[in-house]
């Protein structure tokens, strides 16, 4: 009890003398706020990307690629293979007994961003006639669905908001065709909203290709996946890889999100080292400024622990203030902002930065660690101060 009262009394005295040290204290607060703001906002990219990709795909959908293909862009499935795939076990059938699948192909379109006019690759996905049954989450929010056999496209909500020339009625010029935008769709915020869609046979015909790139199949249930996979793997006429759709998209985002996280921690780490030195400097000068106080209190009988705790508490509180400010800045300026990036095999993808509560807490924890590291050595100096010598020095 006595110890807590000592710590409380000395810490309170520290804080009451803070206004006399406001400029040096602000260095710590601003420095740490900067570290946390950068860390949280860069990690928000990774979180946003992961959240978008986790939102893409369902467990009861499977995607079939040519064996060894890491992504749809490098896959090719001829028409015979596509036909064999739809006969696989576990695929959901409609009332007429027809399998619910979508053989798909894709190509890259070059579009210009609305904000800076930069040229970005965007996916134009060719989908099968049963696409709406395979992807019931797809809703037309403006205009209408494309018609087969004509060069019409529907555009995802994110792509519509990010790129020029994607309003209903606009025409997108590309190699071999001019695509008329006839509708805008949403898919619940997943990665497809960054793409355009048309009828697969139309796209294949314009591109003069003889093959699809993937087949997406709606399964009877998530547990039917293994039966579906086994039935295709055991078919000697097929050389395909079968993955759950959700896992496929998670895998596609993994490399990108890992790189973003590494960048966040490297940049945040370098800045944090700088902030630790700023905190060290500030807390050393705080201890120097309070040398007489510390020596007097030690002479009167206050223990070393109270000195250590009070200096650490001051560093921690300054760091906490900086951390909260940094996290709030990141949240205010970046949360919900849309950014776009090229993802492995996915072309350009638009996603929202997500400054989640967990990220903000992580930022504040970083701030506290910086505060403790910056306060520790000055605190030890205060504790080890030879009292008699310090009293003589003041």
């Amino acid at each position: 009890m006595k110890m807590f009262r000592q710590i409380g009394a000395v810490t309170a005295m520290n804080f009451r003398s803070l206004p006399q040290r406001v400029s040096t204290s602000l260095v710590v607060v601003i420095g740490i706020a900067g570290v946390v703001a950068v860390l949280v906002s860069v990690l928000a990219m990774s979180t946003g990307l992961i959240r978008t990709m986790e939102n893409t795909g369902r467990d009861d959908r499977a995607i079939v690629l040519r064996s060894g293909s890491m992504a749809e862009t490098s896959s090719a499935l001829d028409r015979n293979s596509a036909k064999l795939i739809v006969d696989g076990a576990g695929i959901k059938h409609d009332a007429n007994g027809d399998p619910i699948t979508s053989a798909e192909t894709m190509r890259i379109l070059s579009l210009h961003k609305k904000d800076d006019d930069s040229e970005i690759n965007v996916i134009l996905r060719g989908v099968g006639p049963r696409m709406l049954e395979v992807r019931p989450e797809l809703k037309i929010v403006e205009g209408r669905m494309f018609e087969p056999a004509v060069t019409e496209v529907i555009v995802g909500k994110s792509a519509h908001s990010q790129f020029k020339g994607l309003n209903v009625g606009d025409v997108v010029h590309s190699r071999g065709a001019n695509w008329t935008v006839v509708g805008v769709f949403e898919t619940g915020g997943d990665s497809h909203e960054s793409s355009l869609m048309t009828y697969a046979e139309t796209l294949i015909s314009i591109d003069q290709r003889g093959s699809f790139q993937s087949v997406t199949a709606l399964l009877d249930s998530p547990s039917s996946f293994q039966a579906f996979k086994d039935s295709l793997s055991s078919n000697p006429a097929l050389a395909v890889d079968v993955v759950r759709e959700r896992e496929y998209y998670q895998q596609q985002s993994k490399n990108m999100s890992t790189i973003i996280s590494i960048i966040a921690y490297v940049v945040g780490g370098i800045m944090a080292v700088g902030a630790v030195f700023a905190a060290l400097n500030t807390m050393y000068s705080a201890v120097s400024a309070r040398l007489q106080e510390i020596a007097t209190l030690r002479a009167l009988g206050f223990g070393s622990a109270a000195m250590v705790a009070s200096v650490l508490a001051e560093a921690l509180i300054l760091a906490l203030i900086g951390g909260v400010i940094g996290a709030l800045l990141a949240w205010m300026f970046f949360n919900g902002n849309t950014v776009s990036t090229s993802g492995g095999g996915m072309g350009q993808m638009v996603f929202e930065l997500a400054v989640s509560p967990q990220l903000m807490i992580l930022g504040v924890v970083w701030a506290c660690v910086i505060g403790v590291l910056g306060g520790l050595f000055p605190a030890m100096r205060a504790a080890r101060l030879p009292v008699a010598m310090a009293l003589r020095a003041v």
Binding site: K2, R5, S17, G301, G303
Partner: protein, 230 residues
């Protein structure tokens, strides 16, 4: 009478660079309860070092220091802090008040190291401030008080926990003559009326005249020990 302070063959040396400097050479000293001792001597004679040893702020290189029955030369740093809180009241040349605290909060500081309740702490602070004649300035901060008043607040802080021994390091060194006399009268009253044992380092012969015993140090040795009749 049992001595309150006993020093036996105490030496104190410091290392400065590669040189070992001995500040006190084999000091033997006893101080009885109720004495008012003035330690005098030229600069560098070892007065403050001796005072620090008696107050438990420093430890001897060799020898024994017994204060209030405790061998304080054998105590650890932590135990010595607790011991100082129980036994020593400090009065410094530059008052060493905490600038952010009011006079009453400054006086209360040593009581934060006790288990006294808040109301009891407040009562004792009030008594101490009345004793030094500053009850009406309780809410003032140090920078709103004169030097003499600040030293009186420091004296109130020194006596508030009723310590065994008051140690004063040049208590009038920063004051004008009139304030110095007031402070010395106050210390004398504490010694005579409240039976406080006081050890005071001073350069000022006039201040030393208030003491019941005068001890001279020169080059780390006791050279003269004079007692005055009360």
């Amino acid at each position: 009478m049992t001595a309150l302070v006993t020093l036996r063959n105490v030496t104190k040396s410091y290392v400065r660079g590669k040189q070992k400097v001995e500040v006190l050479h084999g000091i033997d000293l006893t101080i009885e309860p109720g004495e008012f001792l003035a330690l005098m001597g030229p600069s560098g004679s070892g007065k403050t070092t001796l005072l620090n040893l008696v107050a438990g702020l420093d430890q001897p290189t060799t020898g024994e220091v017994l204060v209030a029955g405790d061998r304080i030369d054998q105590l650890s740093r932590g135990s010595l802090s607790d011991w100082r809180a129980r036994h020593i009241g400090f009065i410094f040349q530059f008052y060493n008040l905490l600038p952010v605290l009011t006079a009453e909060a400054n006086v209360e500081v040593p009581l934060l190291l006790t288990n006294l309740s808040k109301s009891e702490r407040r009562r004792r602070v009030q008594v101490a401030l009345e004793l030094v004649g500053l009850a009406e300035r309780a809410r003032h901060k140090p920078n709103e008080l004169s030097g003499g008043q600040q030293q009186r607040v420091a004296i109130a802080r020194a006596i508030v926990s009723d310590p065994t021994l008051l140690v004063c390091d040049e208590p009038t060194g920063d004051l004008d003559r009139q304030s110095a006399e007031e402070i010395m009268n106050l210390l004398t009253a504490l010694n005579r009326s409240h039976k406080k044992t006081i050890v005071m380092v001073t350069h000022d012969p006039k201040a030393a005249e208030y003491a019941s015993r005068e001890l001279h140090l020169d080059k780390g040795l006791l050279t003269n020990d004079t007692r005055r009749a009360a």
